[in-house]
């Protein structure tokens, strides 16, 4: 992107990692080291939703992921001055527990006497809509639902809106829940046969073209089903387009989560940046379609100090098919 886009707010509801009170306080040392010995399933540490969703009736109606997504969004917006000019959400599987609940009663009750609430809340745009309703925001509202590029599609849309002057700030975030059924299915599909684990989480970001912050979201790139060599070419093109040398990338946040079947591409990219410090995180979060939003959150926490890396590259792929790069820059004013 030609325009400079700042990340002025970030929030995360995620399985592990202490929630520090203020942003930009992390260093790479704060990230617990990789251990893949624990359970293969990560569940979020959830906040007390009462503080965010004050209406008890509304809270009761909402499924866990709706509360997680909405709360992460409200946490991100707290302290923000103006209302964002767009709300863009992303999710791979959406509101799974409500989808399952409606399907179950549909089958068990043989299509009779169905409660519509889980159906209503099963739609993929439920969280985006609830954010709009709860903040009374009638602006642009979109939801991207495409596997490993859901979150990056939302980011790209938001960045273009800022670049084109369609909005001065945009709220972009993702949410994913792991249910017992989806975990069963993933296990049966053999996703953890060779390592890795299932996870969930919600991350939201406020992007601004006007208000400055220590973290600049420079650019994104996508690759669909590339060969390892095509991926390296894509990475090289991406750096070139942004006038960045390999050696300028001081930190690589790699999506390698210990799954042997997904290792080839991560290994290729990590080896492509031999001088770069590599940070991994999926041992904390588990893997899910929109997990790269956690990598971005981590990036925002590391940026902005005198000794922060000047440039961070985030690389992730989902099941070897959807590959994405995000380039961050630190802006530090003494």
């Amino acid at each position: 992107m030609k325009e400079t886009i700042y990340i002025t707010g970030a929030s995360s509801i995620t399985p592990l990692l202490p929630q520090k009170p203020s942003p930009y306080t992390y260093t790479a040392q704060d990230i617990p080291p990789c251990t893949y010995t624990e359970t293969i399933r990560s569940a979020c540490k959830e906040p007390d939703y009462k503080a965010y969703i004050t209406d008890p009736a509304a809270r009761r109606r909402m499924s866990r992921v709706v509360k997680m997504g909405l709360t992460a969004a409200l946490q991100c917006l707290s302290g923000a001055g103006e209302m964002p000019g767009a709300i863009i959400t992303a999710t791979g599987l959406g509101c799974l527990s409500d989808t399952e609940k409606f399907l179950r009663t549909l089958i068990e009750n043989k299509e009779e006497l169905l409660n519509p609430t889980p159906f209503i809340q099963s739609t993929f745009n439920t969280v985006g809509s609830q954010i709009a309703i709860s903040t009374k925001n009638m602006a642009y509202n979109n939801t991207y639902v495409h596997r490993g590029v859901s979150f990056e599609s939302a980011l790209l849309d938001g960045m273009m809106m800022l670049a084109g002057g369609e909005a001065e700030s945009v709220l972009v975030g993702s949410y994913e829940e792991l249910t017992a059924t989806s975990f069963d299915i993933q296990s049966r599909l053999g996703f953890f046969r060779k390592g890795g684990k299932a996870g969930e989480g919600a991350q939201f970001f406020l992007l601004s073209a006007k208000e400055k912050s220590p973290c600049i979201l420079r650019d994104l790139a996508f690759a669909f089903q590339p060969t390892p060599d095509e991926l390296l070419e894509k990475a090289a093109d991406f750096l070139l387009k942004n006038k960045v040398q390999k050696a300028d990338i001081e930190m690589l946040i790699s999506g390698d989560g210990g799954n042997e079947e997904e290792f080839t591409f991560y290994d290729k990219i990590e080896k492509n940046f031999p001088e770069t410090q590599v940070v991994k995180y999926k041992h904390l979060t588990g893997d899910y379609q929109t997990v790269s939003s956690f990598a971005l959150w981590l990036g925002t926490q590391i940026m902005g100090k005198a000794d922060s890396p000047k440039k961070i590259l985030i690389y992730n792929h989902f099941r070897n098919i959807n590959h994405t790069f995000i380039l961050l820059e630190s802006r530090f004013d003494k």
């Binding site: 959406g94 299509e111 745009n125 991207y144 495409h146 849309d157 996508f222």
Partner: protein, 398 residues
């Protein structure tokens, strides 16, 4: 930079392609019939807009091996996207080096298969055919369609309930305007399934009779299925033919209620106003509105009130095509974009079937006859969805 539409493709209850759809529209032939597609307590009773081809026939038409498990959402999408892609002559334009994207809207994804899996899975977690669940997510149909067309520069999926298709078009135009892509195939696809049929039935907004959009006696919607895609291009591309410009798109959220529209139509009004503003247009320049017009008491009251507030005593030609196709959910923004472009290209106004009496509140009278040789330069197409996600597209003649 202006965005040109160079190709269109659609499949719905009124036709397996654009030519068939046009014939049905002209012949006032609705595709709404009692449910026959799958086993359900509603089978043989509830009227729906089924695409008149089962999965086997669709696979055969697409030359896909019948043994392959592919969701109906993907099959319908392939059919319409392929028609649009071919219509824009993209298979013969490989040497132009275009960066092509595919953006699809869907609200159910591969649910038509997952609901079978889940019924078995409920009996025991070890049960259920895995090949019926791997296409559950919305991205699956998009990737299958894109792979068939050989598109890999950018592929993504939008899901904002019934405005998904329209929002895919808006997102696609933005990607071209910002120079990220040169050409985008955008629209939506959705298949009928037990999940959505029972979902809408549980909300008590499904009519047991053929739907009557904008009629005082309307009782609800008929669900439909299908797909519609349009090819968006940079004006400077060497496209062989054109249907019109995509002048503007507006996406807003009414932020009122998860499923209902405000009766006075605040969201619909804002959506149409914003589209006019973006396109730098006056209300008098709009020649025809392809209404969202689902036939539910709530939508047709809210949308009509918004039209009255915006257009006053002399609104343009109005009609809902949902009494032909049923409400195709995530696909309707795509299908109705195709219809709107056909209206411009051939000077047509499509009839609003099953209308006799205006709604007391706003008294709007939609067109009831097929109109030919009309001066249709600019068309507005509305798509409103659950969650208050409301979108308006405006197309104009070149």
């Amino acid at each position: 930079m202006r965005i040109v539409v160079s190709g269109v493709g659609t499949v719905s209850a009124i036709g397996l392609n654009v030519a068939e759809s046009l014939r049905a529209l002209a012949g006032k032939k609705s595709g709404i019939e009692p449910l026959s597609l799958f086993e359900s307590g509603h089978k043989g009773k509830l009227p729906v807009g089924e695409v008149k081809a089962d999965n086997r026939m669709l696979a055969e038409m697409l030359a896909i091996h019948p043994g392959k498990t592919i969701s109906r959402t993907a099959l319908l999408g392939m059919s319409a996207a392929q028609e649009a892609y071919g219509d824009a002559c993209l298979p013969d334009r490989k040497n132009e080096g275009l960066r092509i994207g595919f953006i699809s809207g869907t609200s159910v994804g591969g649910m038509d298969l997952s609901e079978h899996f889940y019924a078995d899975h409920l009996q025991s977690p070890a049960k259920g055919r895995l090949r019926q669940i791997i296409s559950h997510d919305c991205g699956d149909s998009t990737e299958k369609i894109a792979s068939r067309l050989g598109i890999n520069d950018y592929i993504t999926t939008v899901s904002t309930a019934c405005s998904s298709g329209a929002n895919a078009v808006i997102a696609g135009a933005r990607l071209i305007k910002h120079g990220f892509l040169d050409c985008v195939i955008a629209g939506g696809t959705d298949a009928l399934c037990r999940f959505t049929l029972n979902g809408f039935a549980s909300l008590k907004i499904v009519d047991e009779y053929p739907c009557r959009p904008f009629d005082e006696s309307r009782q609800g919607l008929n669900l439909g299925e299908g797909a519609g895609y349009i090819v968006l291009e940079k004006e400077t591309n060497r496209y062989p033919q054109s249907y019109g410009y995509l002048l503007a798109g507006a996406n807003i959220c009414e932020a009122f209620h998860q499923t209902a529209s405000s009766p006075e139509g605040n969201g619909a009004l804002l959506s149409m106003q914003k589209a006019l503003q973006t396109g730098n247009l006056q209300t008098k320049q709009i020649d025809y509105i392809n209404l969202h017009g689902t036939g539910t008491p709530n939508n047709d009251m809210a949308e009509g009130n918004a039209i009255r507030r915006l257009f006053g005593a002399t609104p343009p030609y109005l009609s809902s095509t949902k009494a032909y196709t049923g409400h195709t959910l995530g696909a309707c923004g795509g299908i109705e974009a195709v219809f709107s472009l056909l209206a411009i290209k051939y000077g047509l106004v499509f009839p609003n079937l099953n209308f006799t009496t205006p709604i007391a509140g706003h008294g709007l009278i939609p067109e009831t006859e097929y109109g030919e040789n009309r001066r249709i330069k600019t068309v507005m197409s509305n798509s409103f969805g659950f969650g208050g996600n409301m979108s308006t597209l405006i197309f104009s003649a070149i």
